[in-house]
Amino acid sequence: MTSVSPGDAPVPVFPPGDGRRLGQAEQHDTLAARNSRLTPGELLTVKVRRSEAPEGGAVCQEFQVPYQKWMRVLDALNWIAENAAPDLAFRWFCGSKMCGTCAVRINGREVLACWEAVEPNMVIEPLRNLPVIRDLVVDRTRYEDKVASLEPWIERREAYVQFPEPLTHKQMKDASKALDCISCMCCYSACPVIGLGNLTDFAGPGPLVQLGQTALDPRNSPEKVRRSLELTGIFNCVSCYKCEEVCPASIPIVSRIIEPLKAKAALLVPEMAKHSFALRDIVASRGRVDPGELVLRVQGLRALGNLRRILRLFARGKIDPIRTLLGIKTNAAGAAGRILGNKTGKP
């Protein structure tokens, strides 16, 4: 790392210390720790959420499953189906983290049944945010329709420059991450915004990753990408990284898929990125965010609709209308202006 470290070595991205890891040890959150907590033959308590249909009441049925060495959640489900509940409905095909059909929730957390070690006490539930067909089997239609509606393919009108086409790893770095997706829908189940139903038009992390496979490919035509992005509601992503936390393919969904797609949207459909441009302008001119100005610029007169709240915030000194209206700069304005430029970044 030549240009970076003229003197001492750069600080590693994570300096040692335990503020962040505090709790990891006591919660036994490693595969080895989980396996060492159980001995072969020991009984696991497995509660499976079972139901006939979305409207039919769900019940939790409890099973005692004898632990076998290296037992996975899928092995426990298969043991139950073979020994205790032959009518238990669950999906799986490859058993090796490829097909993406066996995703379920274990103790509130989305996992692939084929790739998760069992725990002594488990509640197994179907994925959220999708209708349940029976037991652990969900109806994938909502997800698949969304993916299809985004037209996740490449369209181009111009002739190829040459064949084979020149394409670098760097140009494909984000799209190639998206290509790791196995459509297991763990992220779709974990997404809090999708969890709010039709409140927003957010397409959800899974469909965006599927779109990213082609929309982040430099060969795709901007016109096609624009058409798709318009349907994504992508700026409703709250950036919580819940999707990344559960992704069995370890795709950095927020930073490598959603943010690059947002960047494309800002370029191709700038009206979608109104909030982002407003923030950039405010930081560029004032140095720091003035919350009053941000809300006014994003919401327009709608912001003044909730007068009671405005008065409430004003009474506690949380907003400063004088500062907002006079456009008073902070002592960081000079630096921000030099770095971001004083002109709007809008194309």
Partner: protein, 297 residues
């Protein structure tokens, strides 16, 4: 122990009480904070998506300011913390980016070489002050105060990077609450999202999401909630009347900034910590505040 201190935007506007409380508590704990007054916004979530080059430059500039004083950087906002961590990580792994960012900073005679240690106040409490010293400083144990820890997102995720563990296993806030004498409660909202980052264009998401979390904290028996992030605080506290309207139920849940909870246990009064600047009254905490004899020295 000296830190370059980056308060961010919220703690200098909507949550000014957080900045004041941080300074008070830091001086009680013997932390010497050098506030970076010329530091800009880190770009929140917006800038990093639409202008990555500008995003890296703003954040690396903050790191360079700290480095120019030879000090580690202390943050008090989750999103700022993740932004500077992300910028640092990109900077040290991409020499091309590093060179271009440094070229942008050269006009100010600033240069970053990747040596700034980044730490959120929560981690400083555990890593630099430590449990033993902290216990010695607790003159007003908040005995029996039930608190719900609300971590938020950006100091617990993305997983696998920057030392973050599976967010379910974070205990730093609960452990701290115990050291201060509180009883941390278990509830479903601990490491969930407050929805702040889309609230400027659609606050319904924040209201719906956070309403569930506050309700869960209340059901779990919490007297107050504590958060290490002013953005979470803004939603949890300022939007609470809207949440109550949405779920048609009173919540009356006082929300404390992390340094305010620490400050109460260190004997500072709610007035000194400006807890009265919050939207939700926190009178219920008066019983836990230090009496005058231990409070104001």
């Amino acid at each position: 122990m000296k830190f370059a201190y980056y308060p961010g935007c919220s703690a200098r506007s909507t949550c000014a009480e957080l900045n004041d409380a941080t300074h008070l508590v830091a001086s009680k704990l013997g932390l010497d904070l050098m506030q970076l007054d010329s530091a800009t916004c880190t770009g929140a979530r917006e800038l990093r998506a639409i202008d990555p080059a500008g995003f890296y430059a703003l954040n690396v500039r903050i790191l360079a300011l700290a480095e120019s004083h030879g000090l580690p950087l202390m943050t008090i906002c989750n999103t700022c913390t993740l932004n500077v961590l992300d910028a640092h990580a990109a900077f040290v792994s991409d020499p091309e980016l590093a060179a271009s960012v440094n070229a942008r900073l050269a006009g100010e005679n600033l240069h970053y070489s990747g040596r700034t240690k980044i730490s959120h106040f929560l981690w400083v409490l555990h890593e630099d002050i430590g449990e033993r010293r902290l216990r010695q400083q607790v003159v007003n144990p908040l005995a029996g105060l039930t608190v719900a820890a609300f971590y938020g997102c950006h100091i617990t995720r993305p997983p696998g990077r920057y030392g973050f563990v599976d967010s379910r296993n974070n205990r730093a806030l609960e452990r701290l609450a115990e050291i201060l004498g509180c009883l941390p409660i278990e509830y479903s909202g601990r490491t969930e999202c407050c929805g702040f980052h889309t609230a400027a264009h659609d606050e319904r998401v924040a209201i719906k999401l956070t309403g569930q979390h506050v309700l869960a904290a209340k059901a779990g028996g919490a007297t107050a909630m504590v958060t290490p992030c002013p953005l979470c605080h803004t939603v949890l506290d300022s939007f609470q009347p809207e949440m109550e309207k949405d779920i048609d139920q009173k919540l009356d849940m006082p929300i404390l900034h992390l340094p305010q909870l620490v400050g109460l246990a260190l004997g500072l009064s709610p007035e000194q910590l400006k807890i009265d600047r919050h939207m939700v009254p926190a009178g219920v905490l008066d019983g836990y505040a230090a009496t005058a004899s231990t409070g104001l020295k």
